[in-house]
Amino acid sequence: MTGFARQVHAEWTKLRTVRRWVIALGGAVILSVLLSVFAASASRTDANSDPRIVAGPDGGPVADDVVFAHQRLTGDVTVTAHVVAQADSHEWAAAGIMAKDGTTGGSRYAAIAVTPRHGTRLLADFTHDELAGSGSWLRLVRSGPTVTGFWSADGRTWQQSGIPARLPATVEIGLFVTSPPRVVVERGPGSTAMGELRTEGRAVFDAVSINGTTPRLRVTTVGTSEGMMSQSGGTATVTGSGAMGPNPPPDDVVQVSLFGMLAGVLVLVAVGTLFLTSETRRGLLRTTLTANPHRGRVLAAKAVVLGGVAFGVALAAGVTAFAAAQPLLRDRGWTPPAFPYAGLSDPPVWRALLMTAAFAAAVAVFTLAVATITRHSAATIAGVAALLVLPLIVGSAVPHRAAQVLMLVTPAGGFATQRVKPPTEALVDPTATVSGGWGLAVAVLYAAAALAGAGYVLRRRDA
């Protein structure tokens, strides 16, 4: 064995032979799982009773609120329309031509539309949204299995691009208008009020034709949208509110099932502190440093062992907590379409579990380094625990921006690794203001900086 490997082995032996620590580490797993199970058993959601959340083509939660002026057609079809005017009701308001698999919420569609600020876009099945160019003359051509969007600035020279859509032989086809609601978020102490203000889109179309003739359109308000259509020959005015697209609620089913990790991490802080201070207290550190005069290497070996053990313990706790909490959550409303079932084999889930374990390892190493500098168990545990938990408590009572800053300057942001959804303003939880990657990066930075400081004082100071 090389020198360093021998040292790592020595530190591993020290860790595993202290019975109290082994019990504490086992306790960390049990505590994490129990607390997660309790949190899950007291968490109910009524997101699925929200009429604006319906199941999309792949089962995921989507909003399908649109005012649709349409005609039923089978087989190949060409629709042309010119958007003469569109109200700037919302930057992502849309007005254009759509072919849709019926008027039930969540049905497949292919569309081409103009927006007030984001050009002419090709849209399909809630998730596909692509900038085509600019031009208020629109055409949708369905030929066999393929759908193509055409756009033009003057109605004479056209550009085209395919739209990835899988539509049945018979579709409803015609004009549509959407205009998403404006989201208003107010954060107060311990609560967040999220309101939505309806906006009304409005568009005037002319030169409307389906397969070369002027159609007779009838209007349907799909989902919770509100609006109307008036048609006079090839000219039509459509008003409408609502949006089409992915619409997952901000709550994170993975995060709820990992809540208990908080307790496990606090236990790791205690073990990480004792892993060092018990040596300084008993004078064992002097023996250790005599046996290995390279002091930086002693610290590195301790960090490797502690980090590895913390990673393993946190991963075991996370996997068990997740598996135990999921069935409970399913019984309490956390079901599709608002919350698609999450399993351990889903990449976002195991990525969150691995990142949570990495965060726990970073916290343990950070604690070890702080303990090396302070040589004071109580102050180290209390200080690190405060640094980890207080930002979570304080951050829920301050504005979004301040919470975000708090998460990016303290290692508490690392708890964001438990979320699989992107950051959102809609939750009280401050960890929802940053991504897991950033949170983890801050925690690792803390660990690295503290380790460097600890290496420095260990070399300069008498043991």
Partner: protein, 176 residues
Amino acid sequence: MIRAVRAEWTKVRTLPGAFWLLAASAVAAAFGRTGAQIGQVAIVALAVLAIGNEYATGLIRLTLTAMPNRLAVFVSKLVVIAALTAVTGTRQALYLTLIAVYSLGLAAVLRDTAGAVTTVLATLFVTPLLARVIDDPEWQRRLTTFSPMTASPGVLAGYAAVAALAGALCLRFRDA
């Protein structure tokens, strides 16, 4: 009794880091309730150390040999720590003093500095966060009512009394 209190005062005064812990909590407590929530961390550490450190070094056996009246020893510790916290706690004195008594009592039961600090902080910190993550209103109400950090002074005093009593009984009837 006066001698016992003086002995405890000398021990607390000479605890490594005692001055800094008190100073940190005093500065934090000047910033009101949020400050006290930060500053309580130092008070927890100090109160736990007041007894945990004696167990760690084995000094407790010497102390109890010199003063066979164990209850007097424990009460003296409580008096010194509570007085120090009350004096430095300014407007948050009541809250911080109750937290100090609660910590000292729990530390006497657990006889382990790291274990006691972690346990006290976990009971303080985890419950308010748990109340936020769950949305069963009944459990939310229970958690905010009974979580030491958000509870009324009366409930917190109850915790402190139970912890102090348990600590006193453990010290009185258990081998040191």
